[in-house]
């Protein structure tokens, strides 16, 4: 039977569910990352497939398990950063000769199926559970946590890969390139919206509502870039170790005002994998287990064009309540927050929604002017997020695990890393995880 998307019943997307039934009974142990690249150079060993296999093997090795102990795989099939493989361009011969192929010739190049992974990782001889957590690592993480909690798998790999080819991010491609438009683009692309437009529109409304301005984002974005340069797995640390100053940020060109260049993230290629298991099995593994205290999901139904500011705030308020309800925690329990930042201009919706450091609605931009560094009392987004390490939507999860394991290196927060929260992507549609040094 083909691998299926996780059913709606696996997500905790409503309030009133009480404490998560698997609280503290699932742990992250291993982490594996591929290198990063701005774009694929079309060599086999840097392909999406090759790097995803590499990340998986590293996660297995990092956890200290034998490949045959792995019995589950949860991953996302979609891998696009916004650049499609040209329909008239052949798949490189060497890639086809190196890897076994599925029915889809783009498997391992511009998408990833569980079948492709298992066909090309012969050492995974005992995987009897596969499932897709569609879209992002955030989805795959909560799906895998639920699967381990439900006993569907005991030693589960979690994977997300991204490809990036030539061309500018969606510019002139697909629906944007034609003189006619079909599908949902009739109500958005037709007007010229870019990916960050909706967030920019929300942020403009946020500033009007609370009397803030775009310049007040500078401390947060500068801190994101700083944290990212301390993330050796990330794109900027590996390829462009450029320090961003407040002046750089304020002088950056607009993309969709009030979103500027640095409020957007850079599309890259990279893959990451984690190994999840039960606390019992984790005892025999190499790394300190990081316990999952709750998973929560948001499935806001946006009314019309949007989401609007009001919808973003309502959704993230609800996400905050679900995070604390299912974990039994409160905002003061968090050592750090790693909520999503791609685009930077919606991070405050997430941060205020979980009331991190007691920050209430409309206060986040003032909070950014306080000490939000890894050295300070309230580390905000210590991963550096997409802004600091490239567009993957998984740095926040890797960092949360590493912080609690004490393996975040130069990025290690100075206060004890006991409990953190990560997740995204958007304020009105995401999946969130609470990580802890203890089972609660």
């Amino acid at each position: 039977m083909p691998t299926q998307n996780a059913p709606a019943s696996m997500y905790r997307s409503t309030e009133g569910l009480g404490i998560w039934e698997h609280k503290g009974k699932v742990a992250a142990v291993g982490i594996g990352h591929s290198p990063t690249a701005r774009r694929w150079d079309e060599t086999t060993d840097t392909s999406l497939g090759a790097w995803s296999i590499l990340a998986l093997r590293k996660a297995i090795e990092d956890a200290g398990v034998r490949p045959e102990e792995v019995d589950g795989l949860v991953m996302a099939q979609e891998t696009s950063t916004g650049s499609p493989w040209p329909s008239d361009k052949p798949i490189p011969e060497d890639f086809l000769n190196t890897y076994k192929s599925t029915d889809n010739p783009l498997d391992g190049i511009a998408r990833l199926s569980a079948d492709w992974i298992l066909m090309n990782m012969p050492e995974l001889t005992n995987v009897n559970f596969t499932m897709y957590g569609p879209g992002c690592m955030s989805n795959a993480v909560v799906t895998a946590a639920q699967a381990v909690g439900e006993g569907l798998t005991e030693v589960c790999l979690v994977l997300k890969g991204w490809h990036n080819f030539g061309g500018r991010y969606y510019v002139g491609q697909g629906a944007a390139g034609g003189n006619t438009v079909t599908g949902p683009g009739k109500y958005s692309t037709l007007w010229g919206t870019v990916a960050c437009y909706t967030t920019a529109m929300q942020f403009e409304a946020y500033c009007r509502k609370y009397g803030k301005n775009h310049d007040m984002m500078a401390p947060f974005v500068v801190n994101e870039k700083r944290n990212g340069l301390m993330f050796p797995e990330g794109f900027w640390a590996q390829h462009r170790p450029e320090v961003l100053t407040v002046e750089d940020y304020l002088a950056a060109r607009w993309i969709a005002k009030p979103a500027n260049l640095f409020d957007n993230d850079i599309p890259i290629m990279a893959s990451a994998a984690y190994l999840f298991t039960t606390p019992e099995r984790a005892k025999d593994m190499k790394q300190k287990p990081v316990y999952i205290l709750n998973v929560a999901s948001d499935r806001t139904r946006v009314r019309s064009f949007g989401p609007t500011l009001e919808e973003a705030e309502a959704a993230t308020d609800e996400t905050g309540r679900k995070i604390y309800e299912g974990s039994g925690l409160s905002p003061s329990d968090l050592s750090f927050e790693n909520m999503y930042d791609g685009f930077t201009l919606f991070h405050q919706f997430h941060l205020e929604g979980i009331r991190f450091a007691g920050v209430q609605r409309g206060e986040a931009l003032d909070f950014y002017a306080t000490d939000i560094t890894i050295e300070g009392p309230n580390p905000a987004s210590p991963s550096g997020g997409n802004a600091g390490a490239g567009r993957t939507r998984f740095w926040m999860h890797t960092d949360s695990i590493q912080q609690i394991q004490g393996r975040a290196g130069d990025r290690q927060i100075r206060k004890p890393a006991e409990i953190g929260v990560s997740g995204g992507p958007t304020p009105t549609g995401g999946n969130f995880t609470v990580w802890s040094a203890t089972p609660g």
């Binding site: 034609g178 003189n179 006619t180 993309i255």
Partner: protein, 139 residues
């Protein structure tokens, strides 16, 4: 500004046909009496299952500016030469929850009067001649 021509489909053809007649219509679910836009094949409210009891209601063509952004790096080829330009969100008088985008023709770039009254006009798109609803600030 020359826009892409929208290609109507089975679901939204009445919306675009009405635009060609200089009329603004919005889809309404008769079961829950709720307007919805963009048009969809069925009402998203599970209580209305199967949700196909839909109709089209004519709107007054009046609304207000909810918010906006200014596009400087537009991905749409046909609009690139007109940058920078406004993209405003307009909410309808009949139901502010229903929102549509607009370039606000006649309004200077980045000088958008949020909250101002607007009224619909219909623009011809060059490729197919299909009209699209646009909005102008009034008063």
């Amino acid at each position: 500004m020359p826009k892409q021509s929208p290609v109507p489909d089975e679901v939204d053809k009445p919306f675009w046909d009405a635009a060609n007649e200089d009329r603004l219509v919005v889809q309404n679910c008769k079961d829950c009496d709720t307007l919805q836009h963009p048009p969809v094949a069925k009402c998203p409210d599970p209580a209305c299952d199967p949700g196909t009891n839909l109709e089209w209601k004519e709107m007054s063509g009046r609304g207000r500016v909810y918010g906006y952004g200014v596009m400087y790096d537009c991905p749409v080829t046909i609009l690139a030469e007109d940058q920078p330009f406004n993209i405003a969100v307009v909410e309808l008088e009949e139901d502010p929850g229903i929102k549509m985008l607009s370039h606000l023709p006649g309004t200077p770039v980045d000088d958008v009067p949020v909250g101002a009254a607007v009224e619909v006009v219909f623009e011809v798109t060059p490729t197919t001649g299909q009209k699209v609803p646009e909005w102008r600030v009034v008063g």
